[in-house]
Amino acid sequence: MGRVTVNEEYCKGCGLCVYFCPKNILQLSKTRLNAKGYPPAEVIDMEQCTGCVFCARMCPDSALTVEK
Amino acid sequence: MAKILMKGTEAIAEAAIRAGCRFFFGYPITPQNQIPEYMSRRMPQVGGTFLQAESELAAINMVYGAGGCGKRAMTSSSSPGISLKQEGISYIAGARVPAVIVNIVRAGPGLGTIQPSQQDYMQATRSTGHGGCRTVVLGPASVQEAAELTMEAFEIADAYRIPVIIIGDGMIGQMMEPVDFDAIKIRKREIPNKDWAADISTWGKRPRAVINSLYIDPKVCEASNLSWDEMFKTVSRKEVRHEEYMTDDMDHLIVAFGTTSRICRNAIAAAREQGIRAGMIRPITLSPFPFEAIKLAADRVKSVLCVEMNSGQMVEDVRLAVNGKLDVKFFGRTGGMIPSPAEILQAVKDAGGCR
């Protein structure tokens, strides 16, 4: 129902989106660091995304785009 | 228009309005209160803004705001108030915002007295705030010239994007002399398009305006400083002004600025009555300083005397100009005391080894 895209260039791996996603479908990458050395947010299970935009509303770095 | 009798402070205010200044932000302090007072009456008449700020700090930062929008803006104060504006002037310089700042100097340090003084010469010419930017400093010696230099100040400020300081003392601020505005012919300079300004009417037709002096990268900060230095070299080439008085045949050179130079005229007249050929160079731009004129003069005189209403500040510039060719002597009064022609005459004699 929803789709979330992470702009990894902006993401600082702060984890706020992860915490505030009601569906718990975000995580910080366990394998990659971005150019600035941060583990970017990733969607684990896009299927479950409702497009509620909670994640993006909490993202300080406007790193998320949400479609629905 | 005919001549009118005006105070120096009023002439400055009126000249600013005639130069197109429509934004004045001030705070009372003697002996320059007539500037804000005049502005408070006149600005509404010309559709301009007068605002009495809560402090000199606020006032200079309001000037920064209005100036950064591309408007001709001005503030005025006196010594302690100018000290409070130092940070703001440095920001204005750093962000390359044109502005005109009037300092009707009183005597200090501290609260001192409101009597005339030239004690802020160094502060004005050397260090308008931190950062070490030299700004333009104009030192009128008559009310007419105060009006003229005020109008020049706005041109220079806009032409080079630099804060310009007009420095006077209580005498020039408080005295009345005839002013003829029609007689003022200021040199029109090429004023670059203000497409750097945060002017909402030109949004979209120019790059986004960022009025700023913060640089995270020292390379960029250095580049900005170097461009300032470059600009100031141009200013030094094009804007230096001085006046010569009885220099043609002089043996003894006096260097003095502002009202002090007026007293020196009397002293020179008295000297010449006694057969002492004194003459004077009066820097009109205190910064950039007329080094060259003084250097040339020093080549052909027997003595150089610098006269100031302070403990000896411009004397350094004179020494830098003379560069060791002659000893530069100094005479000054401080703390609001005004040197008399007789004292100056004596100093000329002492400097020149005359009896």
């Binding site: 984890g15 | 606020a58 960022v210 002096s213």
Partner: protein, 244 residues
């Protein structure tokens, strides 16, 4: 599928130089979104302060000024007087607005300048490494209150928004918090409202945004938000403080 959320066009592409999870970025977004929704585009002039948000002039896609520490509202006054049709906002931290800038803050409010101030209260000086701010809580440890803020020595947490409400020219003052989704939504509403008050020419509007500074509080962003809820809100209650 349609885009329901993307980076506001009132923000530039520049990545922000804040710590991970710093609410400055969220507050920026809320301002940008409000301006975008109100379609104020080319009319907006913002003033960034001295503080962690000193670089805000690089982030907002409108004309911007960088002001000296504490003087943002004097600069804003100069701008607003020069261009009464401009929509002018300042963005200021607690040190900037409530310590060194106290006089400018009070007098701008008292003059009723139609200017909008977004006031980020994170109870600390972020930029300079975590010193005490006027809004630091009693007992809170900072790098200049290593033994905790002591009212006797350091004074009390300053309620500047409440003080400002006592200025006749202040038209709208609200306190919000960036600590969870619901509060962020409220914060957005308040910010937008503040701009509307400005547009209506009603006078001075200010939104105090309780924020965190994980870095200097020594917490991760989430812990910090919890600390905000537990400790700051009781001292700085949320809600509209003044509305005329």
């Amino acid at each position: 599928m349609a885009i329901v959320y993307k980076k506001s066009t009132m923000l530039t592409d520049k990545p922000m130089l804040y710590c991970p999870g710093c609410p400055h970025g969220i507050a920026h977004r809320l301002i940008a979104e409000s301006l975008e929704e109100l379609e104020l585009g080319g009319r907006v002039i913002g003033i960034s302060p001295v503080g962690c948000s000193a670089f805000a002039f690089e982030y907002f896609a409108c004309d911007m000024f960088s002001a000296a520490h504490g003087r943002a509202l004097a600069v804003a006054t100069g701008i607003k007087r020069a261009q009464p049709d401009a929509v002018v906002f300042t963005y200021q931290g607690d040190g900037d607005l409530a310590a060194i800038g106290t006089a400018e803050t009070i007098h701008t409010a008292n003059r009723g300048e139609s200017i909008t101030t977004i006031f980020i209260n994170n109870a600390i000086y972020g930029m300079t490494g975590g010193q005490m701010a006027p809004t630091t809580l009693l007992g809170q440890k900072t790098t200049t209150t290593p033994y905790g803020r002591d009212a006797k020595r350091d004074g009390y947490p300053l309620h500047i928004s409440e003080l400002l409400a006592g200025c006749e020219g202040a038209a709208y003052i609200e306190r919000v918090a960036i600590c969870d989704v619901a509060n962020v939504i409220k914060a957005k509403k308040a910010i937008k409202k503040a701009f509307e008050v400005q547009l209506a020419g009603k006078g001075f509007s200010l939104v105090e945004v309780l924020s965190t500074c994980g870095t200097n509080w020594g917490m991760n962003p989430l812990e910090a938000m919890q600390w905000l809820k537990d400790n700051m809100i009781p001292v700085y209650p949320l809600g509209v403080i003044k509305e005329v």
